[in-house]
């Protein structure tokens, strides 16, 4: 096993990645820094737990995910977030014709979406679209797609029903694909 200063140095090198990972979910720089700090301290205390594992970053990200969920749980106990305003979320209802619920306007093809993944600009557009999602919707969507948590776990942590969870995820996806259509793929 590496010496402790060496281990500490390797952890520090990963800090920028971890801060970014936490910031995407928490959308709050200070809370993200705190979660990363807690994760790094836990990692130092539990160095033995890393012994023999292949990937330090994966191990550390796993610890960080727990700290992020702790943060979300704490936040959930603070004065409740207002319900997300419905008009922002129902926006996508306009996509479907009243009455028969078929597309009012058929979604356009996205030429080469995988090509977009090679462009830094695309990620800025994506982040902007994520930033437009209402707070609760964004939180659930990011717990699912960014942190890769199962819906069961998300429901438990946020004390919501699976049905509610699926509705929020559906809305998030529909709003995001519409936003990317307008700000990226439709340009």
């Amino acid at each position: 096993m590496a010496s402790e200063p060496e281990f500490r140095k390797r952890l520090e090198e990963l800090r920028p990645y971890l801060v970014r990972f936490a910031s995407l979910q928490l959308r709050d720089a200070a809370a993200a820094e705190d979660a990363v700090q807690e994760a790094l301290l836990a990692a130092l205390a539990g160095e033995a737990g890393f012994a023999g594992r292949a990937n330090l970053r994966t191990w550390l990200t796993g610890i960080l995910k727990h700290k992020i969920v702790d943060t979300i749980r704490r936040q959930a106990k603070e004065p409740a977030l207002p319900e997300d305003p419905d008009q922002a979320l129902e926006e996508f209802d306009g996509l479907f014709a009243k009455g028969d619920d078929h597309w009012s306007e058929r979604p356009a093809a996205w030429g080469d979406p995988d090509g977009a993944l090679q462009q830094a600009q695309f990620y800025r557009a994506l982040e902007k679209c994520l930033g437009r999602l209402p707070e609760r919707t964004a939180r659930v969507f990011l717990m699912r797609e960014h942190m890769g948590l199962e819906t069961g776990e998300i429901c438990k942590e946020l004390e919501i029903t699976p049905t509610h969870c699926w509705v929020l995820l559906y809305r998030a996806r529909m709003v995001l694909r519409e936003c990317l259509q307008q700000t990226w793929f439709g340009k």
């Binding site: 058929r106 996205w110 993944l117 830094a120 559906y170 995001l176």
Partner: protein, 66 residues
């Protein structure tokens, strides 16, 4: 079993398919609809792409100049 479903219902099921195992009847209804509906096929691909894109998001070096 579900009968003929709308585009709204289809996209809802496609989305849920990313989060849970769909029931047999749901899968059948979905498949029947997708075969005939280009809009829903596109929306489905786009939702799957979103998942891929968001997973990449953390990997992006934010200090990279545009």
């Amino acid at each position: 079993m579900m009968g003929i479903i709308s585009c709204k219902e289809t996209t809802r099921l496609v989305s849920q398919g990313l989060d849970r195992e769909l029931a047999f009847g749901e899968r059948v209804a979905l498949r029947v609809h997708l075969v005939i509906c280009l809009g829903c096929r596109r929306a489905g691909r786009q939702m799957a792409f979103l998942r891929k894109a968001v997973r990449e998001l953390a990997e992006i070096d934010v200090t990279t100049p545009v």
